[in-house]
Amino acid sequence: MTDKNHPPTSERFTLNEDWLATIIGLIVVLVLALGGIAAIPYPLFNLF
């Protein structure tokens, strides 16, 4: 079977990527919320 006939290899990564994004997102939320961080420490970033 040639390489052309294989399903995309990124398919498997995408499944893991979803969980990874969820876990990292929740960790960021917990760190920011429980860590009592009052603002993202970057003074010039005021556009948002």
Partner: protein, 367 residues
């Protein structure tokens, strides 16, 4: 002309080490570019304000994509693109950003918008998938290509294309090709749709539902919503995520159809219902959980604001990656017919999404 691959002939450890170095290099570049976007956006905003404009018409998603495109061009010209490629993870940064965006949307709003979004998604996916599949058949596209294309244009762009390709065993080239078309159409739509929504005097809710129902890739949906209005961004994200949830069902349906009809003579195992869960976009659960935590008061309103700011950083990172990821190379070999089908499907999608968004979010569930 061929280019020599610096990784050819190296041991696996060296390859892995090289990949890590490339990832770190790319990450540093991405962080620098995101900070550059922030600075530029602030400066552009001040410039407009100084000249009497109330709002900055060049919102940060557009600035980020333009910076990404410019750096993409420079990296390719200097042949250093591959040195940072592993860090270009548009969808990953976007998914983390969407989990964090949950902090801005109350769980009640999420459910209310989700119900309307689900009705819209069911109608849109059926209509747009059916139209694209039919037109692709008329123009004699291969079944695998039109399955990937119909899923990408009707559900959620790149991730849908990958899921459909796995279900129908499409060729890698077909996925790459559709991915390029998704980004090629999403970029102009991200800029034009907020302008059109303004000209049509749509409410932020209807506009957001229109963006979410029409633009294929989730990053550009969030970008268009951001450009139009914060409320439009929320609705656009929820509507798009609701549509994303359907990918498992579409992938399952395609897998069954291809196993029983298209490739019925091939000795392949029959797809099971677990495909639906395998394809389910799990980050939607994180998004809903964060929204719930804020709504029940486990995360304070002040903390939620900081989380919301962090989500914008990640969106900026994702928008920069859209520009960095763009390549026209794969379109050259495909010919005009797939492009014609994709463009016709996009026009069809745009018109039908406007009508359905208006009826559902302007008439049935006006907010």
């Amino acid at each position: 002309m061929t280019t020599s691959n610096p990784l050819v002939g190296k041991a696996p450890n060296a390859l892995a080490r090289n990949g890590t170095v490339q990832f770190l290099l790319g990450s540093l570049l991405l962080i620098a570019l995101t900070l550059l976007v922030a600075e530029l956006d602030g400066a552009i905003g001040n410039l407009f304000k100084a000249n009497g404009f109330r709002n900055n018409p060049l919102e940060y998603p557009l600035t980020a994509v333009l910076i990404g495109l410019l750096v993409n061009f420079l990296l390719r010209v200097t042949r250093t693109y591959e040195a940072i490629r592993p860090a270009i993870r548009t969808e990953f940064y976007l998914k983390v950003g969407l989990v964090l965006l949950g902090a801005r949307i109350s769980f009640g709003d999420l459910l209310a918008t989700g119900v309307g979004g689900l009705i819209q998604a069911l109608i849109m996916v059926a209509a747009v998938f059916g139209f694209t599949w039919w037109l692709g058949g008329k123009l004699k596209l291969p079944d695998t290509l039109r399955a990937v294309m119909a899923t990408a244009v009707s559900v959620c762009g790149v991730s849908a294309a990958i899921a459909a390709a796995g279900a129908v065993q499409a060729r890698k080239e077909e996925v790459t090709y559709i991915t390029t078309l998704v980004i090629l159409t999403a970029l102009p739509l991200m800029v034009l749709m907020p302008i059109l929504a303004g000209a049509l005097q749509l409410t932020p809710t209807v506009a957001g539902a229109w963006f979410g129902g029409n633009i294929d890739t989730t990053a550009a949906v969030v970008g268009a919503g951001t450009i139009f209005d914060p409320k439009a961004q929320e609705v656009a994200a929820v509507v798009k995520l609701t549509q994303n949830v359907l990918i498992g069902f579409v992938a399952f349906g395609l897998a069954v159809y291809f196993a029983m009809v298209v490739k019925k003579n091939e000795d392949e195992p029959r797809p099971g219902l677990r495909v639906i869960w395998q394809r389910f976009p799990k980050f939607v659960l994180g998004f809903a959980l964060v929204s719930l935590l804020v709504s029940v008061g486990l995360i304070s309103k002040d903390a939620a604001k900081v989380v919301d700011t962090a989500s914008k950083w990640l969106f900026t990172l994702s928008f920069v990656c859209i520009g960095l990821d763009f390549s026209l190379k794969d379109l050259r070999e495909a010919g005009w017919r797939p492009i014609a089908v994709y463009m016709a499907a996009t026009v069809f999608n745009t018109i039908i999404a406007l009508g359905i968004a208006y009826v559902i979010f302007g008439v049935i569930f006006p907010r």
